[in-house]
Amino acid sequence: MAEPEVIPIVAEADVVHVRQVVRARATELRFSLVDQTKLVTAASELARNALNYGGGGRAEIQVVSSGSRRGLRVVFVDEGPGIPNVAEAMRDGFTTGNGLGLGLGGAKRLVNEFEIESAVGKGTRIAITRWA
């Protein structure tokens, strides 16, 4: 597998940057427009979470392959407070109380694979994959 491309997420402009890089990689892999849009939108949601909820972090973008198909895997890592109840956070309509929905359930519907590891005090790591 190729080396992942790492993009730091420390300011709002970085969320836009993550969108643009994911869009560019998806275009190179000849994703359909709809699939591209879904992946980039999910990436935007998760990048924003890493920034606003996780206090900043990074996105790691990697081309992956399985048999004859190829796809993009994006991993969002932050060393923030962590999510106390992941199952609850994945429910639609869940908000952290300060008005920011985490949008995890929605993001999950936009991708083919969704993995999340998070614990209080241990930060959060979310990996999404979309096949071309």
Binding site: R30, S68, R69, A132
Partner: protein, 285 residues
């Protein structure tokens, strides 16, 4: 002693000769690759591959070719596979391109071996393993490219087989015929949304008179499409729901979410006209 030093050194010393011998081999064996890609292109890629193999061998290991030392070789092989696949070469033919390098390499090893049969045997074994791996890699890339091409063509065929019809100014109809599977429904629906933008339709009628059965996934796609069209500013009407499909929908508990339905395309058209402020009148003669 690191493996393949013998081949590695020999290749470095005799790169030019190997390339010449290989090109001759390709031309004389009638391998399709040279003919399909054209001699200039075949020459260029062959030269790049020999160079890349030298680099890969120099990086140490030939047990596997997925390390960074073999990246150059993988890149050349990917290019040949993709260009070949698009020009109509089968994955097998692209593999033969790589395998035809064995003969000149073996010839070189034999020339340099002297009397040491065991050493020659070892070297030939390692060389054949290496080239087999490279050939397999080429086949995988070629296969993947062919799959991509086929998928794209299937998509295009599906789009063509379900035309979107303009019934009137601002009113589109999508008559679906045949069994709908999840993938076909998705493609057709995306195509409908594109046509809505292109033609500026205020109302789109999705007619499923010609669809014998509908399962939950397809029903959900239909509803998602209607919602997407609504978000874009276009109303949808679903017409031609057969009794069996109506039963399935109720049975499966699918919620039509306020989507307007009409029994026939004609009814849907009349409704669409009414919604756009028109009526059909008679001409008085």
């Amino acid at each position: 002693m690191p493996e393949n030093t013998n081949l590695s050194t020999l290749l470095a010393q005799h790169e030019g000769d190997i390339l010449t011998a290989w090109l001759r081999e390709q031309a004389s064996s009638g391998a399709r690759t040279m003919r399909v890609l054209g001699e200039a292109e075949a020459r260029e890629q062959s030269a790049r591959l020999v160079g890349a193999i030298r680099v890969g061998l120099a990086s140490g290991s030939a047990d596997a070719i997925d390390g960074p030392g073999w990246e150059q070789a993988r890149e050349v092989l990917s290019t040949v596979s993709r260009d070949g696949a698009q020009a109509g070469l089968t994955p097998g033919e692209t593999a033969l391109f790589v395998l035809s390098l064995k003969r000149p390499l073996f010839a070189l090893l034999r020339r340099q071996a002297g009397n040491d049969a065991d050493a020659l045997g070892e070297d030939m074994w390692r060389t054949t393993m290496l080239l087999d791996r490279l050939a397999v890699y080429t086949t995988e890339v070629a296969q993947r490219t062919r799959d991509e091409i086929i998928q794209r063509q299937q998509g295009e065929m599906l789009e063509l087989s379900t035309p979107v019809v303009k019934l009137w100014e601002g009113i589109l109809a999508l008559p679906l015929i045949g069994t709908l599977d999840s993938r076909r429904t998705q493609i057709v629906m995306e195509s409908l949304l594109e046509r809505i933008v292109e033609t500026g339709a205020d109302i789109a009628i999705i007619d499923i008179t010609g669809v014998p059965t509908v399962d939950t996934l397809v029903a959900q796609h239909l509803i998602k499409t209607v919602n997407a069209a609504r978000l874009m500013g276009t109303e949808c009407i679903i017409s031609g729901i057969r009794p069996q499909i109506a039963q399935t929908i109720v049975h499966l508990g699918v919620d039509l979410q306020g989507v307007v339905t009409k029994a026939t395309l004609a009814d849907a058209f009349a409704l669409a006209l009414a919604k756009s402020g028109r009526t059909v009148g008679s001409v008085i003669r």
